[in-house]
C-alpha cells in the first residue's frame, strides 16, 4: 500500500504546484477502485462529479483564490444529504432517495473547495457499532478483514485508514465517530453538541446527534472542523457561540494542565492490554508537564442503559416520517392506508432499526413513560452533573475509547446488549453534549487502540491541542494497515 498523505501534506503539494487536485483525486479514485471491493467502505463512488470539482478547484488555485482545503479529495458518510447524488443512510428505505438539497456540512466543505469522491457505508440509519446493519453489507476493517471497523461511521473510518481518502465526515450519536476511529487506528473528532449544523443530516436521535470528522491527524481534523463549525440558522439547536481559531492554539503547551482519569474506566470490562497502552499514553502527557489526577464518574454503569432509552425513544419518533407516502420505500399492491404504512416500514427497515423503533415505542408508551423515558432523562442529568463536577477539578478527561480492539464480524450480532456495551466510554459524552476525540495510542495484538480525550462544552481548541501534542510525541497515528 502506498504511503497515506495527510490533508496538510496534500495542501502543501497543491500550494507548491507539485500536484494538481485532478491528480490527487484520480489517485484517490484509483485506490478506491483497487481496494474497495474488499473493504466495502463506499456505497457510491462519484468519479464524474469528483473530477469536475477537482478541475474547478485547480482553476480556483490558479486564480489565486484557493484556501488550505481547496482541491483535497474526501468522502461523506451516506447520512449527509447531497443534492443530486443518492443519500441512502445504508437503508433499503432510502435506496433510491436523491436529496433535493445539500446538508450544511456538505455545502461548507464544497465551498472550501474540498472534492467529494463519494458516499461511505455505515450502519443503517447510524444504528449500530459494527457496520453490520448496513443494507449494503458490512465494511471490513483494513487491519484485518475478518474484523469489524466499528460503527456507525465504519465506512468513513475504513476509507481513511486504508488511505482511500485523507478525510471523511461522520456523525456521532453515541460514539459513531470515535469508536470506528479507534478500531481503525485513525483520529476521530466529535465537537460539542450544536457546534456543527445538523441541517441535512438524516435525523437519528436529535438531542444527541453531532457531525464529526475522521482523519489521519488532529491537525487535519482541526483544519476541517474549522470550516464545518459555526452557527446555522437552519438548525434550531445550532450554537451561536463564536468559532475560535483552532489552528492558533494547536501547539500551545499543556505543561501545568490537569488531566482527569475516571477510575471507573479501568474497572471490569476493559482489556488489560488495552489499559496498558492507555497508561503509557498518559505517561507521554506527564513528560509534557501535565498532571494526571484520578477522578470519579460514579454513575458510569448507568450511561449505556440511559442512552439506550433516550436514543431509541428519539429514533422511534424521528423515523415515524418514513411512511411510504412522500419519499422512501413503498410496498406494492396495497389497498388500504394502514397497511401501506405498516408494509412499507416493515419491508424498508432492517432488523436493528426495527428493534430500536420497537424499544423506543415501548419506553414512550402509556404506563412505561415514567419508569423508562423520564427516569433515563433524570439519569442523563446525573451523568452530565458528574462530568461537570470533573471539569471543576481538571482541564480534560482521558481514557480508553473502547473496551477492546476491533471484534470479529458476526461476533456480537446475535446479542444486542453485548453490542451496546461496546459504547460504554463514548455514550456519556453524547448524553452530556461534550466534545471528544479518539487518537491512536498503541497496538494490542496487531490491532489499534484509541485514547479518548473529552473536554467541557465548546473546548474544541483545547481538545485538539491535547491531541495534536500527543501526536507530535508519538507515531501511532502514522501506523497504517499492511505495513509494520
Amino acid at each position: 500500500m502506498t504511503q497515506r498523505l495527510t490533508i496538510a501534506e496534500q495542501s502543501r503539494l497543491l500550494g507548491a504546484g507539485e500536484a494538481s487536485s485532478r491528480e490527487l483525486t484520480q489517485a484517490s479514485l484509483e485506490r478506491i477502485a483497487q481496494h474497495d471491493e474488499a473493504l466495502n467502505a463506499f456505497i457510491e463512488v462519484t468519479p464524474e462529479h469528483a473530477l469536475a470539482a477537482a478541475d474547478a478547484a485547480d482553476q480556483q488555485r490558479k486564480a489565486g483564490n484557493g484556501g488550505v482545503l481547496t482541491g483535497i479529495p474526501m468522502a461523506h458518510k451516506d447520512i449527509f444529504c447531497t443534492q443530486g447524488i443518492r443519500t441512502t443512510c445504508a437503508s433499503r428505505m432510502l435506496e433510491n432517495f436523491v436529496s433535493p438539497y445539500d446538508a450544511t456540512v456538505v455545502e461548507r466543505l464544497a465551498l472550501a473547495g474540498m472534492v467529494s469522491v463519494g458516499k461511505t457505508n455505515m450502519d443503517e440509519f447510524a444504528m449500530g457499532s459494527s457496520n453490520e446493519t448496513s443494507y449494503f453489507g458490512p465494511v471490513k476493517n483494513p487491519w484485518d478483514h475478518a474484523k469489524s471497523p466499528g460503527g456507525s461511521s465504519g465506512g468513513s473510518a475504513a476509507a481513511v485508514a486504508a488511505g482511500l481518502v485523507a478525510m471523511a465526515t461522520g456523525t456521532d450519536t453515541g460514539g459513531s465517530v470515535r469508536q470506528p476511529a479507534a478500531l481503525c487506528g485513525i483520529t476521530g473528532f466529535k465537537p460539542t453538541y450544536g457546534r456543527v449544523s445538523r441541517y441535512g443530516i438524516i435525523a437519528f436521535a436529535s438531542s444527541l446527534d453531532q457531525a464529526g470528522v475522521l482523519g489521519l491527524t488532529a491537525e487535519d481534523v482541526a483544519l476541517v472542523t474549522q470550516v464545518m463549525a459555526g452557527f446555522d440558522e437552519r438548525d434550531s439547536t445550532s450554537s451561536p457561540a463564536e468559532v475560535p481559531d483552532y489552528l492558533a492554539t494547536l501547539e500551545a503547551s499543556v505543561s501545568g494542565k490537569t488531566i482527569g482519569v475516571p477510575k471507573e474506566y479501568f474497572d471490569a470490562g476493559l482489556d488489560p492490554a488495552y489499559a496498558d497502552v492507555v497508561n503509557t499514553a498518559l505517561d507521554v502527557y506527564r513528560q509534557m508537564g501535565a498532571e494526571i489526577r484520578e477522578v470519579s464518574l460514579p454513575n458510569l454503569s448507568l450511561a449505556v442503559p440511559a442512552y439506550y432509552v433516550v436514543c431509541p425513544a428519539e429514533a422511534s419518533s424521528n423515523l415515524s416520517r418514513f411512511d411510504g407516502v412522500r419519499f422512501g420505500h413503498r410496498a406494492e399492491g396495497i389497498t388500504d392506508l394502514e397497511s401501506l404504512y405498516t408494509r412499507s416500514r416493515t419491508e424498508g427497515f432492517g432488523d436493528e432499526v426495527k428493534r430500536r423503533i420497537m424499544t423506543g415505542t415501548y419506553v414512550l408508551s402509556a404506563g412505561y413513560y415514567d419508569a423508562y423515558y423520564l427516569q433515563a432523562q433524570k439519569v442523563r442529568q446525573l451523568i452530565s452533573d458528574d462530568l461537570q463536577r470533573c471539569f471543576e477539578q481538571v482541564d480534560i478527561l482521558a481514557g480508553p475509547t473502547t473496551p477492546t480492539t476491533a471484534f470479529g464480524i458476526g461476533e456480537k450480532v446475535d446479542d444486542p446488549v453485548q453490542m451496546y456495551l461496546n459504547d460504554i466510554y463514548t455514550v456519556s459524552v453524547n448524553l452530556a453534549g461534550l466534545p471528544g476525540i479518539s487518537v491512536p495510542c498503541g497496538m494490542v495484538d496487531g490491532l489499534p487502540a484509541g485514547l479518548q480525550l473529552v473536554g467541557p462544552h465548546f473546548s474544541e481548541a483545547s481538545v485538539l491541542n491535547f491531541a495534536h501534542l500527543y501526536q507530535k510525541e508519538t507515531d501511532w497515528h502514522q501506523r497504517q494497515p499492511g505495513q509494520n
Binding site: S207, S301, V325, L337, T342, R345, M358, V363
Partner: protein
Amino acid sequence: MTLSRQDIEYIAHLARLEVSESDVPAYVDKLGRIIEFIDELGQADTADMVPMAHPLDMSQRLRADEVTESDERDRYQANAPETENGVYVVPRVVE
C-alpha cells in the same frame, strides 16, 4: 420484566411494524434482553433530579414570520413513490 407475545404485537402495532409469526420468539428474546438491561435505571436515586431533555441550556430561537421558502413542490415530489396533479397518492380512505 419480560415481554409477552401480546406485548410484542402491541408495540409493533404502535410502531406501525409487522412482526411475523416466526419472528415473535426472536423479538421476545432480544427485546426482552434489552428491556432487562434498561431496567437497571430503576436502581438510580434520581429523587431530586430534573429530567434533562437537551445537553445545552438554550431557548428556542424565534424569527420574524416572513416567507423564506420558495415553492419547490415539483422538486420535492420527485422523490415520492406516487403523485398525481401535484398531490401525493395513497389508497382510498373515504368511500
